[in-house]
């Protein structure tokens, strides 16, 4: 097998596998997030900040952001693969991936800022 064939071999199967792994990871993470949000829906600002500053919450939130935007990027790539065929496909994929990266980074930054500054 040449190296080029190996790269192609990984591409489709790797994407498919990573989409499934992030999906499985997201099931507990999103359910945790929803349960926490509902439980805290009456609380004021300081209570929400206190909850986010808890080490377990911080970790879960960061994991949630990473898994969520990774899964989003993989899913949106599938959609772009299906519907965009012209030369617009490459810029569309790049913008989408950078957008997901930026959003994940912004979210993580916000969480860490809350942890550090309070």
């Amino acid at each position: 097998m040449t190296r080029r064939r190996e790269r192609t071999l990984l591409e489709g199967a790797g994407h498919w596998w990573r989409e499934r792994v992030t999906a499985v990871a997201l099931i507990p993470l999103t359910l945790w997030f929803f349960a926490s949000i509902i439980a805290h829906s009456a609380n004021d600002y300081s209570a929400v900040i206190a909850w986010l500053r808890m080490p377990s919450s911080t970790l879960m939130m960061v994991l949630l952001l990473v898994a969520l935007f990774y899964h989003t990027a993989l899913g949106l790539q599938t959609i772009i693969d299906d519907y965009v065929h012209s030369a617009r496909k490459v810029p569309a994929l790049i913008i989408m991936r950078l957008g997901c990266l930026a959003l994940a980074a912004a979210g993580t930054f916000a969480v860490l800022r809350i942890v550090v500054r309070g």
Binding site: R20, A23, I38, H40, Y45, I49, G75, A106, R113, I114
Partner: protein
């Protein structure tokens, strides 16, 4: 199919214009659309986190937005889309383990997904109202 060869040689038969929507294709496109809507919700999540990080005033503004009638409707839509994508996604994961490919199982699990999404959305909404009171 695309390409200039196609266009030189005559018409293409209609596909989505005439094909009957069935539970299979309808739930599949619903899973995709709910995924996109959930992604928009993810953007909202990041904005909410940024608002919380910016300070109590920005956070109060975010809360006010969410509690407005438009915000509540949006929240409901995002919640339903999320639960539909969650249940549909679990159905996909079960298929990936090569279970449930019998046609009757495909249809039964499909209706379960629809019902579960509605039930979960309503339950989460009620739980939210209860917790807020």
């Amino acid at each position: 199919m695309r390409g200039s060869m196609q266009e030189k040689y005559g018409p293409t038969s209609p596909n989505i214009q005439i094909y009957r929507p069935q539970l299979t294709s309808v739930l599949s496109i619903a899973n995709r659309i709910s995924g996109v809507v959930t992604s928009v919700g993810a953007v909202g999540l990041v904005l909410w986190l940024l608002a919380a990080a910016a300070g109590p005033d920005t956070y109060a503004f975010a809360r006010w937005l969410l509690s407005s009638s438009l915000g509540q409707i949006g929240l409901l839509i995002f919640m339903f889309a999320f639960f539909l994508h969650l249940c549909g996604g679990i159905r996909h994961l079960i298929w990936d383990a090569v279970y449930g490919f019998d046609l009757s199982t495909i249809y039964a699990s499909g209706w379960v997904v629809v019902a579960a999404s509605v039930v979960l959305t309503v339950a989460a909404w009620i739980a939210g109202l209860y917790a807020a009171s």
